[in-house]
């Protein structure tokens, strides 16, 4: 259709939606809504993963982000019942400035990235690299040390969260 392959159509639509939802995340006043938009953005990104043959990753992505992290967010929001629109906003000026700076960043980076050998296509050949088996091999072979050490990370996060979270014992 219109000289575009289906993939490209999908890519286009997904990208468009992703960007839209991302913008909504930033610009909706109500936190709850932006959480939901964020979830939608994640879905779009998951779609991209699928598009890129990273099936397992896509699943994990949904599970971790949409399933866990976002719920956590929602939970906190509800805990502090912030679900009203009347939350303090930054002044228009500072918003404007941040917009400008963001724009600058965008322009500069895009300008810098432009020089790439543009038509280099994303290979679709080795389509099995995204599969669990394959990833597992890599993960537990080359990336064993990081994998193990992440435990320390999570442990410390755990400890930290508890330490912060728990009431002072008087």
């Amino acid at each position: 259709m219109l000289g575009y392959t289906i993939t490209q159509w999908l890519f286009g639509i997904l990208s468009f939606m992703a960007i839209m939802f991302a913008l909504m995340v930033v610009f909706t006043r109500n936190p709850v809504n932006s959480v939901l938009y964020l979830v939608l953005t994640f879905f779009c990104i998951a779609g991209h993963y699928l598009l890129l043959n990273a099936q397992f990753l896509a699943v994990v992505h949904i599970a971790v982000y949409a399933g866990a992290i976002m719920v956590l967010f929602l939970f906190v929001i509800m805990l502090m019942n912030l679900n009203q629109d009347a939350e303090p906003q930054k002044t228009v000026a500072s918003k404007l400035i941040s917009g400008i700076i963001g724009g600058l960043l965008l322009i500069v980076m895009v300008a810098a990235l432009r020089g790439t050998q543009g038509s280099e296509l994303v290979q679709t050949g080795a389509s099995e690299i995204g599969l669990v088996k394959n990833l597992g091999k890599v993960l537990f072979h080359e990336y064993l040390f990081p994998f193990e050490i992440v435990s320390v990370l999570l442990l410390s996060a755990l400890v930290g969260a508890i330490m912060i979270g728990k009431k002072e014992i008087k």
């Binding site: 930054k90 941040s98 700076i101 963001g102 600058l104 960043l105 500069v108 300008a111 810098a112």
Partner: protein, 629 residues
Amino acid sequence: MIKLTALIPLFPLLGFLINGFFGKKMSKGLSGTIASVCILASFIVSAMVFVDLQSSTQKSHIINLFSWINSDTLTIPFAFLVDPLSAVFLLIITGIGFLIHVYSTGYMHDDEGFARFFTYLNLFVFFMLLLVLGNNYLIMFVGWEGVGLCSYLLIGFWFKNTAFNDAARKAFVMNRIGDLGFLLGIILIFVTFGSISFNEVFQKAGTVSTPVITSIALLLFIGAMGKSAQIPLYTWLPDAMAGPTPVSALIHAATMVTAGIYMVVRSNVFYSISEVASETVGVVGVATALFAATIGLFQNDIKKILAYSTVSQLGLMFLGLGVGAYSSAVFHVTTHAFFKALLFLGAGSVIHAMGGEQDIRKMGGLSGKIKITFITMLLGTIAISGIPPFSGFFSKDEILAHTYEHSKVLWLLGMIASMLTAFYMFRLLFLTFFGKFRGTHEQEHHLHESPSSMTVPLIVLAILSVIGGALGFPEFWHMPNWMAHHLDPIIVRKDPSMLSHETEWMLMGLAVAGALAMIWFTYQLFIKNRVLPAEKEAQLKPWQRLIYNKYYVDELYDAVIRKPLDFMSTVFHKFFDLQVIDGIVNGVGASVRMIGASVRYFQTGNIGFYVMSMSMGVVLIILLTFLIK
């Protein structure tokens, strides 16, 4: 005997040390005696040295003591030079010095600083001897500055009186101005000749281009100006009269102030090579002579008058030097030493008698009361006025004769100066000793002749100033001009007088006539119609007032030098140093604070802002690295 020259300065030094360390504990008589004896001893030694020198054929002897300053090519030994010139000065210094010491034992008798006085006096003689004995310019400079110091100490002898201290300081500083010139001269000599000891320098003098010689001579002459109180550096001498009278007699009349002449004669080689220099010397000399003489006319302080007369006499001597009459100048130095010392001591005795009064308007009719003083002073006055056959006549005439031969104008001016001398000296004499007493009553019955310790020196000096002329009879009298012959070895350019005898006689006649006329005029003025100097300045005519105030030269210097200096000092300190330079330094500190404050301002504490600036930073870095190149 000449080997013992080192003893000559040693004795006064000894006296200085003894009096300096133990003076307080000793009785006045003892310390006075020690001081005088030391001088006497060195007088005897110098006399012997003198005799030896006369007898020996070799006319210059160098006595090496120790090497003082070495800097590879520059080697300065601490060495003495004995030759006719220094010999003469040795005699003058020690001889007159001794007399004045004796005199002082009487004059200073009631002063609590008695020992101190003799300490200084001895120290002075020591330095003066160094000055004339030195074998090179630097030793001369040592003595030069040393006598300056002593004159400082002695002028400010009564240190409780601020005016005296100011006078002392003035003297020292003005001398220092001269000394700087002298010092630079010495350095230039070293740079030119690679040595500063007299003989070597004078031998090489011919080999150097005249401009250099001129500059050397002029620099040296600046030194002479300071020390011998020539225009423009003369103003300190009159003020120096603040010191005790013997000091004025010894330092500011007989010896120290003639150091300039000594120095010029010593380096006559340069002056005879460089026309410019000698001209300058002559002109400055005659100018000073006239100038000082005119000021002398209206002074009322007995010592001030003498001071100005000294200045003018020194001017005459420099005139002589300027016209190349070196021996005559030295001759005049000698005679002047006799009669000026005499006059000062006489004045001292008068003041002594008047109980410290120095204003001649308060005196009068003393001739009867203090005879010896009167007679001696009379003789002295006649001598200085140049009446034959007194000493002053011969020396002055010799100078004037040479001047006439050299240039008529200078001669005329010199002539006028010497006539004026006659006027103010006799004015002094008449007002002091004739007429009736104008002082207070207690002064009147306090009047008394001074003790013999004071009168004896007066008499001796009087005799000397009468017969002193014998040292140098004019050539054409076919009598030996001893001084000229004596100084012959050290003077390079001799110009035997070309004048015909008639002219010489004529000049003499004129001089004597002028002097006599002046005396007669003065007599008319002050004896016949009893004119008295004005009590108040207001009564004077404007031109008289101008002279009376010494042409306001002091005020001028004050306005031109001292005040600006103080002003600059304050400005430099308060404004330039504290505001500008230190301001810049502190400004740096201030700017640190300023920048700090402004930088600090960005640390707003707002996360949003921080994040923004971080992203901005990223933007800038990327721009910096890519889009720039």
